[in-house]
C-alpha cells in the first residue's frame, strides 16, 4: 500500500526481527548447553569435588580439618583460616569432628577422599597469601556404618587409619596433635609444610581435608552455596527461560511489522555493505570465541557466559542478513578485493594509471616509514635506553612529530586514492562514450573533486543520445516521406504516360503530333527520375537492402559492358578496356555493382567529347581493386569533384542533357552501401571516376561460394 513508511517504524521492525532471531538462537544454544551441563551435573553429583568444596560450609562441618603448624599439630574444624588449637581442645575438637563425621557423613559404602592444602600466612595475619593444594584422591571405602569402628579413624584418638593398599602414611595423633608419620613421596604438601618452620617469618598451615565423595546436600539450603556447575546450570536455565519469553514477544511484534521488515532489510543492507568483509569476519570470530571459549574465572564449562547468547544471536542475524541481501557484493567490499583491484589496475591498466598508482605506493611507503620510525623512537625512549633529559625530550618530540606526519600522510593518501578512483571512473566513462557503448551515468560521492566533471560528462551523454534519437527520427520520417511522395508522384505519372501514349497513337496534324511525342519523351524521363530519386533516398537514409556475395569483379565488368553493348555501339565513342582475365574476387551486391558501373558508363556516354576514347581499367593495389572509368569531357570541367556527387548537380549548368543528375550520387551511395569507396578526379578535361573495393583472398571465400 503506502510504500513510504516512517523511518522509526522501519527501524523498530528491524529491531523486532533481530531480537526474534537473537532469542531463537539463545533458546537453541542454551538448550544444548543446558543439556550438556545437566549431564555433567548428574555424572559428577552435587558433591562433585573438582573445585572449591572447601568453601561449602556444610561440608566443612563434616570434614576433619587438620591444621599443622610446623611439626606441632593443630587440628579442628575451621573456617577459611581454621582455628589454631592447642592441647586438649585440639583433641576434643578432633574427636568431635570424628564423631560428627561418624554420625552424619560417612555411611558404609561411601568413598572417602582427601586433599592437602598448604597455606602460608604472614605472622599475625589471617589472609592467605599463597597456597598449594593437592588434588583430591581416594582414601578408601567406608566399611561399616553406625558402628564404633570406622576404617579410617581410630576410635579413640582419631588416628587416621589408612587402607593397606595406599601408600599414604599419614598418622595423626589426636592427643598431642603430632603427625606421626608422613610419606614425603606422596605428600608434597607436607614437605612444603616442613619448609615453613614455625617461628619464622612465614608461618605455614598445612590442612588435611577429608570428604565423602558423591554425597548430596547435607544441610540446610541457606548454608549451601551451589557448586560452579550447579550455578552455571541455573544461569543457563534462566537464560533459556528469558529467551523463550523474548522469542514469543519479539515474534509477535515482528509478525505485526512484517511489511516494514522487507524495506528494513534493504535499508540495512545498504548500510551493512560498507564495513570491510575482514571486519565482519573478525566480529564472527569474536562471537564464536565468546560462545565456545569460557572465561578463565569460570570453574566449569566449555561454553561462554550464557548472558552472551542473545547478543551473539543478534549479531549473527545481522551478519546473515547482510550476506543474504548483498550476496557476493559483500566480497567486493573487502580489503583483499581492493588489494586485488589495485594489483589488477596496476598490471593491466594504462601506463598513466600505473604512474598514478606509483604515487600511491610512494605515499604508502612514506606512511609506513614515518609511523614506524616514530613508534620506534618513542619505544626506545620509553624503554629508557636514551639517557639524558634533553636527549630523551628531543626523542619524545621527534617521535610524536613523526607519528603526526604519518597520520597526516594517511589522510593525504586516502584523499589521493579517492581522487584517483574518480579519475579512473571518469576516464572509463569517456572511453565508453567514445566507443558508443552503453554509457552508465556517473554518480560520484558528495564532495568528490570531480563531481563537476562527471555532471558535464553525463550532460554530454544525454546530448549525444538526444542527437542520435533526433537523427533516427528524422531518418524515419524522411523514408516515410519518400515512400509517400513517390507513390503520389507515380500515380499521376502513370496517367500522364498513358495519355501521352494515347495521344501519340492518334493521327494528329503536324505541330500537334510533335508536341505529343515531346510530351511522351519527357514523361518517360520523368519516370526514370522518380525511380532514381526513390532509390537514392533509400540508399542515403540507410534503408537499402544489400545482399552481399562473393563475385568476380572482372567478370562483372565484362558482363556489364556486354549488356550495354548496343548503346556503346550506337555512340561515337571508343571503349578501351584494361581488365584482368583472372578473377578479382570481392564481396558485394552484384545488382548494386551493376547499377554502379551502368551509371558510370552512361555518364561517360552522355558527357564525353564526340569520337573520344573512354578507358575502363581494373587495377589491383595493396589488397584493393580499383575500377576506373576515364573519359574526356565535352565541356569544361569547372567544378569541384566533391560537388558533382551532390544530388542534382550536373556538369552542364543549362541541364539540357538527359539524365536525372543523380547518377553519380547513386554510384557513391551504392558503393558505400556495398563497403567500397568512390572518388572522382578531375585533370583538365579528363574525368576519372574510381570505385575501390577490398579484395577477398582465395582462402577467405567459403567453399560453397566458389562454384
Amino acid at each position: 500500500m503506502d510504500t513510504k513508511l516512517k523511518k522509526s517504524k522501519i527501524i523498530r521492525a528491524f529491531i523486532y526481527r533481530m531480537l526474534t532471531a537473537g532469542a531463537l538462537f539463545s533458546v537453541i544454544f542454551s538448550a544444548i548447553v543446558g543439556k550438556d551441563a545437566l549431564l555433567n551435573l548428574q555424572r559428577e553429583g552435587l558433591g562433585t569435588l573438582t573445585g572449591d568444596i572447601y568453601y561449602l560450609t556444610e561440608f566443612r562441618e563434616y570434614i576433619a580439618t587438620l591444621y599443622m603448624q610446623g611439626m606441632i599439630g593443630y587440628a579442628g574444624l575451621g573456617d577459611n583460616n581454621g582455628y589454631p588449637l592447642t592441647g586438649s581442645s585440639a583433641s576434643a575438637l578432633s574427636q568431635k569432628a570424628v564423631a560428627d563425621f561418624r554420625a552424619g557423613v560417612a555411611a558404609a559404602g561411601d568413598e572417602l577422599i582427601y586433599r592437602i592444602d598448604v597455606n602460608t600466612f604472614p605472622k599475625n595475619s589471617t589472609a592467605i597469601q599463597d597456597g598449594k593444594t593437592t588434588a583430591w584422591e581416594n582414601l578408601g571405602i567406608v566399611k561399616e556404618s553406625g558402628n564404633v569402628t570406622y576404617p579410617l579413624f581410630s576410635q579413640y584418638d582419631g588416628h587416621l587409619l589408612l587402607p593397606d593398599d595406599t601408600a599414604l602414611c599419614c598418622y595423626w595423633n589426636g592427643y598431642d596433635g603430632t603427625l606421626t608419620s608422613l610419606s614425603p613421596k606422596h605428600f608434597e604438601a607436607f614437605s612444603a609444610a616442613q619448609l615453613y618452620k614455625p617461628n619464622e617469618t612465614n608461618a605455614s598451615r598445612v590442612r588435611l581435608l577429608l570428604a565423602v565423595k558423591n554425597k548430596e546436600h547435607y544441610s540446610s539450603e541457606k548454608l549451601a552455596p551451589m557448586s560452579a556447575v550447579a550455578k552455571s546450570y541455573q544461569r543457563i536455565l534462566w537464560v533459556l527461560l528469558a529467551s523463550c519469553v523474548l522469542l514469543v514477544v519479539a515474534s509477535v511484534f515482528s509478525l505485526l511489522s512484517r511489511r516494514a521488515a522487507v524495506q528494513a532489510r534493504t535499508e540495512f543492507a545498504a548500510h551493512s555493505i560498507k564495513p570491510w568483509l575482514e571486519a565482519k569476519l573478525l566480529l564472527l570470530a569474536l562471537i564464536l570465541f565468546s560462545l565456545f571459549v569460557s572465561p578463565a574465572s569460570e570453574g566449569f564449562a566449555l561454553y561462554g557466559s550464557p548472558w552472551l547468547y542473545l547478543p551473539a544471536g543478534c549479531l549473527l542475524y545481522l551478519l546473515y542478513t547482510d550476506l543474504r541481501s548483498n550476496k557476493t557484493a559483500v566480497l567486493a567490499h573487502s580489503l583483499t578485493y581492493r588489494f586485488i583491484c589495485f594489483i589488477r589496475t596496476y598490471v593491466s591498466g594504462f601506463p598513466w594509471q600505473r604512474k598514478a598508482l606509483n604515487v600511491c605506493i610512494a605515499t604508502m611507503f612514506g606512511i609506513l616509514t614515518t609511523l614506524g620510525g616514530g613508534l620506534w623512537v618513542l619505544y626506545v625512549n620509553f624503554k629508557g635506553n636514551i639517557t639524558g633529559y634533553y636527549t630523551s625530550m628531543t626523542f619524545s618530540i621527534l617521535g610524536t612529530l613523526l607519528i603526526a606526519a604519518g597520520l597526516l600522510l594517511i589522510l593525504a593518501h586516502i584523499r589521493l586514492r579517492r581522487f584517483l578512483r574518480d579519475v579512473f571512473t571518469l576516464t572509463r566513462g569517456l572511453d565508453e562514450l567514445q566507443a558508443g557503448e552503453t554509457y552508465t551515468p556517473l554518480a560520484f560521492p558528495k564532495g568528490s573533486l570531480l563531481s563537476q566533471s562527471a555532471t558535464v560528462l553525463n550532460a554530454l551523454d544525454n546530448g549525444i543520445e538526444a542527437a542520435v534519437e533526433q537523427r533516427n527520427r528524422s531518418n524515419r520520417m524522411r523514408v516515410e516521406l519518400i515512400t509517400n511522395v513517390s507513390h503520389d508522384l507515380k500515380t499521376p505519372l502513370t496517367s500522364i504516360i498513358n495519355y501521352a501514349d494515347l495521344l501519340c497513337e492518334e493521327n494528329l496534324p503536324a505541330p500537334a503530333s510533335e508536341y505529343a511525342s515531346a510530351l511522351q519523351l519527357k514523361a518517360y524521363r520523368l519516370k526514370g527520375m522518380v525511380q532514381d530519386v526513390f532509390e537514392l533516398s533509400k540508399a542515403t537514409s540507410g534503408n537499402l537492402t544489400v545482399e552481399k556475395q562473393f563475385l568476380d569483379l572482372a567478370k562483372l565488368l565484362r558482363q556489364t559492358l556486354a549488356d550495354m553493348e548496343e548503346r556503346i555501339a550506337q555512340s561515337t565513342l571508343t571503349f578501351k578496356l584494361n581488365i584482368a582475365s583472372e578473377p578479382v574476387m570481392i564481396e558485394a551486391d552484384g545488382e548494386k555493382l551493376y547499377r554502379i558501373f551502368q551509371n558510370l558508363i552512361v555518364n561517360a556516354l552522355q558527357y564525353s567529347l564526340e569520337n573520344s576514347r573512354v578507358h575502363i581499367q581494373l587495377g589491383i593495389e595493396e589488397g584493393y581493386a580499383y575500377t576506373k572509368v576515364k573519359n574526356t569531357s565535352r565541356q569544361e570541367l569547372d567544378f569541384d569533384p566533391a560537388e558533382i556527387v551532390e544530388r542534382f548537380v550536373r556538369a552542364d549548368a543549362s541541364r539540357t542533357t538527359e539524365g536525372s543528375g543523380l547518377g553519380l550520387s547513386i554510384v557513391q551511395s551504392f558503393t558505400e552501401a556495398c563497403g567500397g569507396s568512390f572518388t572522382i578526379d578531375i585533370d583538365a578535361d579528363m574525368f576519372t571516376a574510381c570505385v575501390c573495393f577490398p579484395i577477398v583472398k582465395e582462402g577467405e571465400i567459403p567453399y560453397d561460394e566458389k562454384s
Binding site: H487, K490, T491, N498, Y499, L502, L551, D552
Partner: protein, 232 residues
Amino acid sequence: MEKECILVVDDDKDIVTTLKIQLEKEGFQVLCAYNGMEALTLLEQTEVHLILLDIMMPRMDGFSAIMKIRERQNIPILVMSAKSEESDKILGLSIGADDYITKPFHYKEVVARIRSQLRRYMKLGGIHSSSDEIRIGRLCFNFIAHTLTADGEPVKLTSIETKILELLMRHPGRIFSTEEIYANVWDEPIAYNGENTVMVHIRRIREKIEINPGEPEYLKVVWGIGYKIEKK
C-alpha cells in the same frame, strides 16, 4: 470469338480511363471499378476473365480484395502498384496474385502480361508435366523436340540459343559461369571475347522470352558470377 472481359480496379479515375481505352483498342471488353467493394459487387454480377487491381485504394484495399476474390474464383489477378519494394511484390504474389506490375508502367507491358495470363488461364487447362519437358512459369521447354513455348505459343530460337536455353532449363536455379556455357554450347574452351558472345546471345533470348526484357523474370544475369534460369 467472344471478347475476354477484364475488370480494371483503381481509385485513380484517369488510370482506369486510359487503361480502358487502350485495352478496348486491343480487343478486350473492359469493366471499371474504383475500389475493392465495387470490384467484388461487379464480380458477382458479371463473368470476368481477368482482374487488374491496384493495392492502395479506399474502402477496401487490393490485398483484402484479392483474398476475398480467391475465396471463390480462380481467375488471373494482376496487381498494379506504385509500391516497388521487393517485399510488396512477394506479399502480393503470396496471397494469390498472379503477376505484379509497378507503376508507372507502359501499357504495352500491361497488355503483354494480360495476354500471357489469359492464354494460360483459357488454353492450358492443367499442367500435364512429363519427363520430356520442363515447365517454369510461362515457359515450357521440350527436351525431345528442342522447342520452347511461352504461354503455349512457340518461340523461334536459333540453334545456339536453343542449346544455351536447354542447358539452363535443365538445371533451374543453378548458376552457370560464362566458361561453362561456352564449353557446353560451343564445345570448345572459351575464346577471346567469349563473355561478350554469350552475353549477346543471352540478351537476344531474353528479348524473345521475356515480357519486359529490361526487367527479366526468367533468364537472369548473376552479376560477376554467371547466368541462370530463375526457379519459379
